[in-house]
Protein backbone atom coordinates (compact mmCIF):
# COMPACT_ATOMS: atom_id res chain seq x y z
CA UNK A 1 0.00 0.00 0.00
CA UNK A 2 1.49 3.29 -1.02
CA UNK A 3 1.43 6.46 1.00
CA UNK A 4 -1.24 8.83 -0.19
CA UNK A 5 -0.42 11.37 2.46
CA UNK A 6 1.70 14.43 1.78
CA UNK A 7 5.06 14.41 3.48
CA UNK A 8 5.52 17.04 6.14
CA UNK A 9 8.16 18.48 8.41
CA UNK A 10 6.65 18.58 11.88
CA UNK A 11 7.75 19.47 15.38
CA UNK A 12 6.87 17.08 18.16
CA UNK A 13 7.21 17.23 21.91
CA UNK A 14 8.51 14.23 23.83
CA UNK A 15 5.55 13.42 25.97
CA UNK A 16 6.31 10.13 27.68
CA UNK A 17 9.32 7.88 27.75
CA UNK A 18 10.19 4.45 28.99
CA UNK A 19 13.91 3.82 28.89
CA UNK A 20 15.83 0.56 29.20
CA UNK A 21 19.55 -0.17 29.09
CA UNK A 22 19.67 -0.54 25.31
CA UNK A 23 16.49 1.04 24.10
CA UNK A 24 13.66 3.45 24.77
CA UNK A 25 9.99 3.70 23.91
CA UNK A 26 9.17 7.31 23.23
CA UNK A 27 5.75 8.90 22.85
CA UNK A 28 5.64 12.15 20.92
CA UNK A 29 2.83 14.63 20.50
CA UNK A 30 2.35 17.40 17.97
CA UNK A 31 0.09 20.41 18.09
CA UNK A 32 -0.54 20.01 14.36
CA UNK A 33 -2.85 17.46 12.81
CA UNK A 34 -0.96 14.20 12.57
CA UNK A 35 -1.04 13.06 8.94
CA UNK A 36 -2.41 9.62 8.15
CA UNK A 37 0.32 7.04 8.61
CA UNK A 38 0.29 3.39 7.64
CA UNK A 39 2.12 0.55 9.38
CA UNK A 40 5.64 0.07 8.02
CA UNK A 41 6.12 3.73 7.22
CA UNK A 42 8.90 5.63 8.93
CA UNK A 43 9.99 9.09 10.00
CA UNK A 44 13.28 10.96 9.58
CA UNK A 45 14.25 12.41 12.93
CA UNK A 46 16.53 15.40 13.35
CA UNK A 47 18.93 14.87 16.21
CA UNK A 48 19.52 18.23 17.86
CA UNK A 49 22.61 19.24 19.83
CA UNK A 50 24.51 16.36 18.37
CA UNK A 51 27.94 17.16 16.93
CA UNK A 52 28.39 13.56 15.79
CA UNK A 53 25.30 13.24 13.63
CA UNK A 54 24.90 15.40 10.59
CA UNK A 55 22.07 13.55 8.87
CA UNK A 56 18.61 12.72 10.15
CA UNK A 57 17.94 9.21 11.46
CA UNK A 58 15.24 6.93 10.02
CA UNK A 59 12.95 5.24 12.56
CA UNK A 60 9.84 3.17 12.03
CA UNK A 61 6.55 4.32 13.41
CA UNK A 62 5.86 2.00 16.33
CA UNK A 63 2.32 3.15 17.00
CA UNK A 64 0.05 6.13 16.43
CA UNK A 65 -2.93 7.75 18.05
CA UNK A 66 -4.20 10.18 15.46
CA UNK A 67 -7.01 11.45 17.62
CA UNK A 68 -4.49 12.81 20.11
CA UNK A 69 -1.79 13.55 17.51
CA UNK A 70 0.55 11.07 19.17
CA UNK A 71 3.25 8.94 17.63
CA UNK A 72 5.49 6.32 19.25
CA UNK A 73 9.04 5.41 18.34
CA UNK A 74 10.92 2.42 19.68
CA UNK A 75 14.60 3.25 19.60
CA UNK A 76 17.57 0.98 20.04
CA UNK A 77 20.65 2.80 21.30
CA UNK A 78 23.38 1.73 18.93
CA UNK A 79 25.24 4.92 18.07
CA UNK A 80 25.45 8.63 18.82
CA UNK A 81 22.15 9.51 17.17
CA UNK A 82 19.96 6.93 18.78
CA UNK A 83 21.68 7.40 22.14
CA UNK A 84 21.11 11.14 22.04
CA UNK A 85 17.49 10.66 21.02
CA UNK A 86 16.77 8.03 23.67
CA UNK A 87 18.41 10.26 26.27
CA UNK A 88 16.18 13.26 25.63
CA UNK A 89 14.36 14.80 28.56
CA UNK A 90 10.60 14.99 28.58
CA UNK A 91 9.19 18.04 26.77
CA UNK A 92 12.15 18.19 24.40
CA UNK A 93 11.26 19.32 20.91
CA UNK A 94 11.95 16.85 18.12
CA UNK A 95 11.62 17.58 14.44
CA UNK A 96 10.54 14.82 12.05
CA UNK A 97 9.83 14.38 8.38
CA UNK A 98 6.87 12.09 7.90
CA UNK A 99 5.24 9.89 6.77
CA UNK A 100 7.90 8.24 4.62
CA UNK A 101 8.07 5.05 2.56
CA UNK A 102 5.60 2.38 1.62
CA UNK A 103 3.66 0.48 4.20
CA UNK A 104 3.07 -3.21 4.69
CA UNK A 105 0.35 -4.63 2.44
CA UNK A 106 -2.71 -5.38 4.53
CA UNK A 107 -4.93 -8.32 3.65
CA UNK A 108 -8.58 -7.81 2.82
CA UNK A 109 -10.72 -7.67 5.97
CA UNK A 110 -11.13 -11.12 7.43
CA UNK A 111 -14.23 -13.15 6.65
CA UNK A 112 -15.45 -15.94 8.86
CA UNK A 113 -15.52 -18.18 5.82
CA UNK A 114 -11.83 -17.69 5.15
CA UNK A 115 -9.47 -16.75 7.97
CA UNK A 116 -5.90 -16.28 6.77
CA UNK A 117 -3.18 -17.38 9.15
CA UNK A 118 -0.80 -14.49 9.63
CA UNK A 119 2.59 -14.57 11.27
CA UNK A 120 4.67 -11.58 12.31
CA UNK A 121 8.35 -12.23 12.93
CA UNK A 122 10.50 -9.64 14.63
CA UNK A 123 14.14 -9.71 15.61
CA UNK A 124 15.49 -7.28 18.19
CA UNK A 125 14.45 -3.73 17.42
CA UNK A 126 12.85 -5.05 14.24
CA UNK A 127 9.68 -5.51 16.25
CA UNK A 128 9.24 -1.71 16.17
CA UNK A 129 6.95 -1.45 13.10
CA UNK A 130 5.15 -4.72 13.88
CA UNK A 131 3.11 -3.39 16.78
CA UNK A 132 1.49 -0.78 14.58
CA UNK A 133 0.95 -3.48 11.95
CA UNK A 134 -0.73 -5.75 14.51
CA UNK A 135 -3.21 -3.08 15.40
CA UNK A 136 -4.18 -2.64 11.76
CA UNK A 137 -4.47 -6.39 11.29
CA UNK A 138 -6.58 -6.58 14.41
CA UNK A 139 -8.87 -3.86 13.05
CA UNK A 140 -9.31 -6.00 9.95
CA UNK A 141 -10.35 -8.95 12.05
CA UNK A 142 -7.08 -10.87 12.21
CA UNK A 143 -5.38 -12.33 15.21
CA UNK A 144 -1.80 -12.85 14.09
CA UNK A 145 0.79 -15.13 15.63
CA UNK A 146 3.92 -13.35 16.83
CA UNK A 147 7.39 -14.78 16.83
CA UNK A 148 9.82 -12.46 18.56
CA UNK A 149 13.53 -13.10 18.87
CA UNK A 150 16.44 -11.48 20.65
CA UNK A 151 19.78 -12.16 22.22
CA UNK A 152 18.24 -12.23 25.67
CA UNK A 153 15.01 -11.43 27.49
CA UNK A 154 16.00 -7.75 27.66
CA UNK A 155 15.66 -7.55 23.86
CA UNK A 156 12.04 -8.67 23.85
CA UNK A 157 10.16 -5.39 24.05
CA UNK A 158 6.46 -4.56 24.25
CA UNK A 159 5.47 -8.20 24.69
CA UNK A 160 2.36 -7.26 26.63
CA UNK A 161 1.17 -4.99 23.82
CA UNK A 162 1.69 -7.76 21.29
CA UNK A 163 -0.34 -10.12 23.45
CA UNK A 164 -3.33 -7.80 23.05
CA UNK A 165 -3.44 -8.72 19.39
CA UNK A 166 -2.47 -12.37 19.24
CA UNK A 167 -0.43 -15.26 20.54
CA UNK A 168 3.25 -14.57 21.20
CA UNK A 169 6.18 -17.00 20.83
CA UNK A 170 9.68 -16.03 21.84
CA UNK A 171 13.22 -17.20 21.19
CA UNK A 172 16.36 -15.89 22.85
CA UNK A 173 19.91 -16.84 22.05
CA UNK A 174 20.80 -17.24 25.69
CA UNK A 175 17.57 -19.01 26.55
CA UNK A 176 16.60 -16.40 29.11
CA UNK A 177 13.08 -16.26 27.64
CA UNK A 178 11.13 -18.60 25.38
CA UNK A 179 12.96 -21.21 23.33
CA UNK A 180 16.73 -21.01 23.11
CA UNK A 181 18.07 -20.27 19.66
CA UNK A 182 17.37 -18.14 16.64
CA UNK A 183 13.94 -16.96 15.69
CA UNK A 184 14.01 -19.12 12.56
CA UNK A 185 14.62 -22.21 14.69
CA UNK A 186 11.46 -21.89 16.79
CA UNK A 187 9.38 -25.08 16.88
CA UNK A 188 6.20 -23.23 15.95
CA UNK A 189 7.62 -22.76 12.46
CA UNK A 190 7.56 -26.50 11.96
CA UNK A 191 3.94 -26.77 13.04
CA UNK A 192 2.44 -23.73 11.36
CA UNK A 193 1.78 -23.09 7.72
CA UNK A 194 0.94 -19.37 7.64
CA UNK A 195 -0.67 -17.74 4.63
CA UNK A 196 1.21 -14.51 5.19
CA UNK A 197 4.40 -13.61 6.92
CA UNK A 198 5.62 -10.15 7.80
CA UNK A 199 9.14 -9.78 9.04
CA UNK A 200 11.51 -7.11 10.30
CA UNK A 201 14.90 -7.53 11.91
CA UNK A 202 18.59 -7.82 11.13
CA UNK A 203 19.30 -8.65 7.50
CA UNK A 204 20.63 -12.21 8.09
CA UNK A 205 17.48 -13.01 10.03
CA UNK A 206 15.22 -11.61 7.33
CA UNK A 207 17.14 -13.61 4.74
CA UNK A 208 16.60 -16.76 6.78
CA UNK A 209 12.90 -15.96 7.09
CA UNK A 210 12.70 -15.31 3.35
CA UNK A 211 14.18 -18.76 2.61
CA UNK A 212 11.77 -20.33 5.02
CA UNK A 213 8.84 -18.49 3.41
CA UNK A 214 9.98 -19.64 -0.01
CA UNK A 215 10.24 -23.20 1.28
CA UNK A 216 6.74 -22.95 2.68
CA UNK A 217 5.60 -21.17 -0.46
CA UNK A 218 4.24 -18.44 1.78
CA UNK A 219 3.56 -14.81 0.90
CA UNK A 220 6.10 -12.71 2.80
CA UNK A 221 6.96 -9.06 3.24
CA UNK A 222 10.11 -7.81 4.93
CA UNK A 223 11.13 -4.31 6.00
CA UNK A 224 14.68 -3.26 5.11
CA UNK A 225 16.88 -0.89 7.05
CA UNK A 226 19.30 0.35 4.41
CA UNK A 227 21.42 3.40 5.21
CA UNK A 228 19.60 6.56 4.20
CA UNK A 229 20.68 10.14 3.67
CA UNK A 230 17.41 11.85 2.72
CA UNK A 231 14.56 9.38 3.24
CA UNK A 232 12.36 10.73 0.46
CA UNK A 233 13.87 9.65 -2.82
CA UNK A 234 16.27 12.48 -3.55
CA UNK A 235 19.74 11.07 -2.89
CA UNK A 236 19.66 7.50 -4.26
CA UNK A 237 21.84 6.28 -1.42
CA UNK A 238 19.48 3.70 0.08
CA UNK A 239 19.20 1.37 -2.87
CA UNK A 240 18.54 -2.35 -2.81
CA UNK A 241 19.24 -4.52 -5.81
CA UNK A 242 15.89 -6.00 -6.80
CA UNK A 243 14.34 -7.71 -9.75
CA UNK A 244 13.86 -4.18 -11.09
CA UNK A 245 17.49 -3.21 -10.57
CA UNK A 246 18.51 -0.66 -7.96
CA UNK A 247 15.45 0.79 -6.25
CA UNK A 248 15.27 3.22 -3.36
CA UNK A 249 14.23 1.57 -0.13
CA UNK A 250 12.96 4.89 1.19
CA UNK A 251 10.34 5.30 -1.53
CA UNK A 252 9.80 1.82 -3.02
CA UNK A 253 10.34 0.31 0.43
CA UNK A 254 11.25 -0.09 3.20
CA UNK A 255 8.70 -2.88 2.87
CA UNK A 256 9.34 -5.35 0.05
CA UNK A 257 7.72 -8.58 -0.93
CA UNK A 258 10.48 -11.17 -0.94
CA UNK A 259 9.67 -11.85 -4.60
CA UNK A 260 11.15 -8.47 -5.46
CA UNK A 261 14.41 -9.18 -3.67
CA UNK A 262 17.44 -11.02 -4.99
CA UNK A 263 18.14 -12.79 -1.69
Amino acid sequence: MSSITNKQVLDFILYEKEEWANSALMKFKTTEVLPEIFPGQFVQVKIENSPDTYLRRPLSVNFTDRENSCLWLLVQKIGPGTRKLAGLALNSKVNMILPLGKSFTLPEPAKDSFQQQIMLIGGGIGTAPLLFLSKSLHERGYSPVFLLGGRSAADILQIDQFRLYGKVYVTTQDGSMGERGLVTEHSILKEMQPDRMYCCGPKPMMQAVASLARAKNCWCEVSLENLMACGFGACLCCVEKTTQGHVCTCTEGPVFNINQLLW
Partner: protein, 304 residues
Protein backbone atom coordinates in the same frame (compact mmCIF):
# COMPACT_ATOMS: atom_id res chain seq x y z
CA UNK B 1 12.02 46.47 -2.66
CA UNK B 2 15.12 44.38 -3.13
CA UNK B 3 15.64 43.04 -6.64
CA UNK B 4 16.70 39.44 -6.14
CA UNK B 5 17.01 38.53 -9.80
CA UNK B 6 20.37 37.63 -11.23
CA UNK B 7 21.49 37.17 -14.78
CA UNK B 8 23.81 34.37 -15.81
CA UNK B 9 24.59 35.68 -19.26
CA UNK B 10 21.26 35.22 -21.10
CA UNK B 11 19.76 33.09 -18.35
CA UNK B 12 17.66 35.00 -15.86
CA UNK B 13 17.06 33.62 -12.38
CA UNK B 14 14.35 35.17 -10.24
CA UNK B 15 16.69 34.80 -7.32
CA UNK B 16 20.23 33.47 -6.85
CA UNK B 17 19.19 30.21 -5.18
CA UNK B 18 19.34 26.96 -7.12
CA UNK B 19 19.47 23.38 -5.96
CA UNK B 20 22.45 21.15 -6.70
CA UNK B 21 22.37 18.14 -8.96
CA UNK B 22 21.96 14.78 -7.29
CA UNK B 23 20.56 16.31 -4.14
CA UNK B 24 17.19 17.45 -5.44
CA UNK B 25 16.05 14.52 -7.54
CA UNK B 26 13.89 15.90 -10.35
CA UNK B 27 12.34 18.45 -8.06
CA UNK B 28 9.22 16.29 -7.66
CA UNK B 29 10.60 14.75 -4.50
CA UNK B 30 10.40 18.19 -2.86
CA UNK B 31 6.93 19.29 -3.93
CA UNK B 32 5.43 18.28 -0.61
CA UNK B 33 7.90 20.48 1.21
CA UNK B 34 8.21 23.67 -0.79
CA UNK B 35 7.08 25.70 -3.75
CA UNK B 36 9.77 25.26 -6.39
CA UNK B 37 8.64 28.41 -8.15
CA UNK B 38 10.15 30.38 -5.29
CA UNK B 39 13.74 29.52 -6.12
CA UNK B 40 15.87 30.59 -9.05
CA UNK B 41 16.49 27.19 -10.51
CA UNK B 42 16.79 23.46 -10.16
CA UNK B 43 19.63 21.33 -11.48
CA UNK B 44 18.20 17.88 -11.92
CA UNK B 45 19.96 14.61 -11.33
CA UNK B 46 23.06 13.62 -13.31
CA UNK B 47 21.88 12.31 -16.66
CA UNK B 48 23.82 10.13 -19.09
CA UNK B 49 23.19 9.05 -22.61
CA UNK B 50 22.53 5.44 -21.58
CA UNK B 51 20.84 4.20 -18.40
CA UNK B 52 23.17 3.52 -15.47
CA UNK B 53 22.56 1.27 -12.49
CA UNK B 54 25.01 3.21 -10.34
CA UNK B 55 27.31 1.67 -7.77
CA UNK B 56 26.59 -1.12 -5.35
CA UNK B 57 25.15 -0.49 -1.90
CA UNK B 58 26.42 0.90 0.50
CA UNK B 59 26.69 4.25 -1.19
CA UNK B 60 26.68 6.59 1.77
CA UNK B 61 28.69 7.31 4.89
CA UNK B 62 28.23 10.08 7.35
CA UNK B 63 31.33 12.12 8.24
CA UNK B 64 32.06 15.07 10.53
CA UNK B 65 29.72 17.83 9.32
CA UNK B 66 29.12 16.08 6.06
CA UNK B 67 28.71 12.89 4.13
CA UNK B 68 30.34 10.78 1.48
CA UNK B 69 28.32 9.44 -1.43
CA UNK B 70 29.07 6.93 -4.12
CA UNK B 71 25.83 6.95 -6.06
CA UNK B 72 27.68 6.69 -9.35
CA UNK B 73 25.23 8.55 -11.57
CA UNK B 74 22.37 6.09 -11.33
CA UNK B 75 19.78 7.27 -13.85
CA UNK B 76 17.52 5.88 -16.54
CA UNK B 77 19.27 7.68 -19.37
CA UNK B 78 18.47 10.78 -21.36
CA UNK B 79 15.80 9.15 -23.52
CA UNK B 80 13.81 8.07 -20.50
CA UNK B 81 14.22 11.57 -19.11
CA UNK B 82 12.82 13.12 -22.30
CA UNK B 83 9.90 10.75 -22.53
CA UNK B 84 8.84 10.24 -18.92
CA UNK B 85 10.29 12.87 -16.64
CA UNK B 86 10.42 16.01 -18.72
CA UNK B 87 6.64 16.05 -19.31
CA UNK B 88 6.05 15.91 -15.57
CA UNK B 89 8.43 18.72 -14.64
CA UNK B 90 8.40 21.04 -17.65
CA UNK B 91 5.75 23.23 -16.06
CA UNK B 92 7.74 24.04 -12.95
CA UNK B 93 7.78 27.81 -12.79
CA UNK B 94 11.54 28.01 -12.43
CA UNK B 95 14.63 27.25 -14.49
CA UNK B 96 15.18 23.53 -14.80
CA UNK B 97 18.70 22.68 -15.93
CA UNK B 98 19.88 19.17 -16.67
CA UNK B 99 23.16 17.95 -15.26
CA UNK B 100 24.88 15.96 -18.01
CA UNK B 101 27.59 13.40 -17.54
CA UNK B 102 29.36 10.92 -19.77
CA UNK B 103 32.26 8.55 -20.25
CA UNK B 104 33.33 9.91 -23.62
CA UNK B 105 33.14 13.28 -25.31
CA UNK B 106 30.57 11.80 -27.61
CA UNK B 107 28.34 10.85 -24.70
CA UNK B 108 28.26 14.48 -23.60
CA UNK B 109 27.64 15.78 -27.09
CA UNK B 110 24.81 13.40 -27.81
CA UNK B 111 23.06 14.05 -24.53
CA UNK B 112 23.41 17.80 -25.01
CA UNK B 113 21.89 17.60 -28.48
CA UNK B 114 18.92 15.66 -27.22
CA UNK B 115 18.29 18.00 -24.31
CA UNK B 116 18.63 21.02 -26.58
CA UNK B 117 15.35 19.98 -28.18
CA UNK B 118 13.47 20.37 -24.91
CA UNK B 119 11.83 23.80 -24.99
CA UNK B 120 11.53 24.27 -21.29
CA UNK B 121 15.11 23.39 -20.43
CA UNK B 122 17.09 26.63 -20.75
CA UNK B 123 20.49 25.13 -20.06
CA UNK B 124 22.65 22.23 -19.05
CA UNK B 125 25.29 21.82 -16.40
CA UNK B 126 28.19 19.73 -17.64
CA UNK B 127 29.39 17.48 -14.89
CA UNK B 128 33.05 16.77 -15.57
CA UNK B 129 33.75 16.24 -11.93
CA UNK B 130 31.94 13.19 -10.63
CA UNK B 131 34.39 11.22 -8.51
CA UNK B 132 32.14 8.18 -8.39
CA UNK B 133 32.41 6.61 -11.80
CA UNK B 134 35.31 4.65 -13.12
CA UNK B 135 35.59 5.98 -16.66
CA UNK B 136 35.12 9.60 -17.60
CA UNK B 137 33.49 11.67 -14.93
CA UNK B 138 36.18 13.28 -12.89
CA UNK B 139 38.86 12.52 -15.47
CA UNK B 140 37.49 15.30 -17.66
CA UNK B 141 37.48 17.70 -14.78
CA UNK B 142 41.10 17.29 -13.72
CA UNK B 143 42.78 17.11 -17.11
CA UNK B 144 43.15 20.43 -18.94
CA UNK B 145 43.25 18.70 -22.33
CA UNK B 146 40.17 16.57 -21.77
CA UNK B 147 38.24 19.47 -20.30
CA UNK B 148 39.09 21.71 -23.19
CA UNK B 149 37.89 19.11 -25.65
CA UNK B 150 34.60 18.28 -23.99
CA UNK B 151 33.60 21.91 -23.50
CA UNK B 152 34.53 22.77 -27.07
CA UNK B 153 32.59 19.90 -28.59
CA UNK B 154 29.50 20.44 -26.50
CA UNK B 155 29.63 24.17 -27.14
CA UNK B 156 29.69 23.47 -30.86
CA UNK B 157 26.32 21.78 -30.72
CA UNK B 158 24.62 23.28 -27.68
CA UNK B 159 23.27 26.80 -28.08
CA UNK B 160 21.52 27.48 -24.77
CA UNK B 161 23.12 28.16 -21.39
CA UNK B 162 26.16 26.00 -20.90
CA UNK B 163 27.18 25.81 -17.25
CA UNK B 164 30.33 23.89 -16.48
CA UNK B 165 30.73 22.24 -13.10
CA UNK B 166 34.31 22.16 -11.87
CA UNK B 167 36.04 19.53 -9.77
CA UNK B 168 37.79 20.66 -6.59
CA UNK B 169 40.24 17.77 -6.77
CA UNK B 170 42.86 19.79 -8.61
CA UNK B 171 46.01 21.72 -7.84
CA UNK B 172 44.86 24.93 -9.46
CA UNK B 173 41.19 25.40 -10.15
CA UNK B 174 41.73 28.66 -12.02
CA UNK B 175 43.65 26.84 -14.73
CA UNK B 176 40.63 24.67 -15.51
CA UNK B 177 38.21 27.55 -15.06
CA UNK B 178 40.02 29.60 -17.69
CA UNK B 179 40.04 26.70 -20.12
CA UNK B 180 36.29 26.28 -19.75
CA UNK B 181 35.78 30.00 -20.26
CA UNK B 182 38.00 30.02 -23.35
CA UNK B 183 36.07 27.14 -24.86
CA UNK B 184 32.82 28.99 -24.51
CA UNK B 185 31.20 27.94 -21.24
CA UNK B 186 28.57 30.49 -20.21
CA UNK B 187 29.08 30.02 -16.49
CA UNK B 188 31.04 27.93 -14.00
CA UNK B 189 29.56 26.10 -11.04
CA UNK B 190 31.80 24.88 -8.24
CA UNK B 191 32.54 22.84 -6.32
CA UNK B 192 31.59 19.26 -6.91
CA UNK B 193 32.45 16.83 -4.12
CA UNK B 194 35.96 16.33 -2.74
CA UNK B 195 37.26 12.82 -3.14
CA UNK B 196 37.20 11.19 0.30
CA UNK B 197 37.04 7.87 2.09
CA UNK B 198 35.59 6.40 5.26
CA UNK B 199 36.45 3.24 7.13
CA UNK B 200 34.61 1.28 9.78
CA UNK B 201 37.38 0.54 12.26
CA UNK B 202 35.41 -2.21 13.98
CA UNK B 203 34.75 -4.35 10.91
CA UNK B 204 37.93 -3.12 9.19
CA UNK B 205 36.16 -2.39 5.94
CA UNK B 206 35.55 0.70 3.83
CA UNK B 207 32.13 2.17 4.42
CA UNK B 208 31.42 2.59 0.71
CA UNK B 209 31.24 -0.23 -1.81
CA UNK B 210 33.54 1.84 -4.02
CA UNK B 211 36.02 2.53 -1.17
CA UNK B 212 36.24 6.24 -2.06
CA UNK B 213 33.38 8.64 -2.66
CA UNK B 214 32.41 12.28 -2.86
CA UNK B 215 32.49 14.48 0.24
CA UNK B 216 29.80 17.13 0.63
CA UNK B 217 28.20 19.23 3.34
CA UNK B 218 29.37 22.03 5.67
CA UNK B 219 32.79 20.39 6.10
CA UNK B 220 33.76 21.37 2.54
CA UNK B 221 32.52 24.97 2.71
CA UNK B 222 35.92 26.58 3.47
CA UNK B 223 37.49 24.85 0.46
CA UNK B 224 34.56 25.74 -1.79
CA UNK B 225 34.58 29.37 -0.70
CA UNK B 226 38.30 29.64 -1.42
CA UNK B 227 37.87 28.14 -4.89
CA UNK B 228 34.94 30.40 -5.74
CA UNK B 229 37.00 33.41 -4.73
CA UNK B 230 40.01 32.29 -6.76
CA UNK B 231 37.85 31.51 -9.78
CA UNK B 232 35.90 34.76 -9.57
CA UNK B 233 39.16 36.67 -9.81
CA UNK B 234 40.39 34.56 -12.72
CA UNK B 235 37.46 34.59 -15.16
CA UNK B 236 34.84 36.99 -16.51
CA UNK B 237 31.89 34.62 -16.83
CA UNK B 238 29.53 34.18 -13.87
CA UNK B 239 30.47 31.80 -11.10
CA UNK B 240 27.89 29.71 -9.23
CA UNK B 241 28.94 28.78 -5.68
CA UNK B 242 28.32 25.29 -4.28
CA UNK B 243 29.57 23.53 -1.17
CA UNK B 244 28.00 23.12 2.22
CA UNK B 245 25.51 25.95 1.87
CA UNK B 246 22.96 25.39 4.62
CA UNK B 247 21.61 28.82 5.48
CA UNK B 248 21.42 32.42 4.37
CA UNK B 249 24.78 33.43 5.85
CA UNK B 250 26.50 30.67 3.89
CA UNK B 251 24.86 31.81 0.66
CA UNK B 252 25.86 35.43 1.31
CA UNK B 253 29.46 34.39 1.98
CA UNK B 254 29.65 32.72 -1.43
CA UNK B 255 28.18 35.76 -3.14
CA UNK B 256 30.57 38.12 -1.37
CA UNK B 257 33.40 35.87 -2.54
CA UNK B 258 32.25 36.26 -6.12
CA UNK B 259 29.34 33.94 -6.82
CA UNK B 260 26.51 35.31 -8.97
CA UNK B 261 24.24 32.52 -7.78
CA UNK B 262 24.51 29.54 -5.47
CA UNK B 263 23.35 25.94 -5.29
CA UNK B 264 22.10 24.20 -2.18
CA UNK B 265 23.09 20.54 -2.04
CA UNK B 266 23.28 18.16 0.89
CA UNK B 267 21.43 20.60 3.16
CA UNK B 268 18.25 19.73 1.24
CA UNK B 269 18.31 16.27 2.80
CA UNK B 270 18.18 17.63 6.31
CA UNK B 271 15.94 20.61 5.78
CA UNK B 272 14.00 20.04 2.56
CA UNK B 273 12.56 23.54 2.44
CA UNK B 274 15.85 25.30 3.11
CA UNK B 275 16.34 26.69 -0.40
CA UNK B 276 13.21 28.82 -0.09
CA UNK B 277 14.29 30.07 3.34
CA UNK B 278 17.65 31.06 1.90
CA UNK B 279 16.02 33.02 -0.91
CA UNK B 280 13.93 34.87 1.67
CA UNK B 281 16.97 35.41 3.86
CA UNK B 282 18.88 37.05 1.04
CA UNK B 283 16.18 39.70 0.72
CA UNK B 284 16.42 40.34 4.40
CA UNK B 285 20.21 40.58 4.32
CA UNK B 286 20.15 43.00 1.39
CA UNK B 287 17.66 45.15 3.22
CA UNK B 288 19.69 45.24 6.44
CA UNK B 289 22.91 46.00 4.61
CA UNK B 290 21.50 48.54 2.16
CA UNK B 291 21.85 46.52 -1.03
CA UNK B 292 19.17 47.33 -3.58
CA UNK B 293 19.73 44.13 -5.47
CA UNK B 294 21.22 40.71 -4.92
CA UNK B 295 23.50 41.29 -7.90
CA UNK B 296 25.43 43.87 -5.93
CA UNK B 297 26.50 41.22 -3.45
CA UNK B 298 28.64 39.42 -6.00
CA UNK B 299 32.30 39.95 -5.21
CA UNK B 300 31.61 42.72 -2.71
CA UNK B 301 33.92 41.25 -0.09
CA UNK B 302 35.84 44.04 1.60
CA UNK B 303 39.55 43.42 1.87
CA UNK B 304 41.30 46.14 3.84
Amino acid sequence: MVDLSVQLKALRLKNPVMTASGTFGYGEEYLDFMDVSRIGGIIVKGTTIRPREGNDYPRMAETASGMLNAVGLQNKGVHYFVKHIYPRICDFNTNVLVNVSGSTVDDYVQAAEIIQELDKIPGIELNVSCPNVKEGGMAFGVSPRALSLVVKEVRAVYKKHLMLKLSPNVTDITELAKIAEDQGADSLSLINTLLGMAIDAENRRPKLSTVTGGLSGPCIKPVALRMVWQTYKAVKIPVIGIGGISNTADAIEFMLAGASAIQVGTANFIDPGVSVSIAEGITDYCRRHGFKSAKELTGSLIID
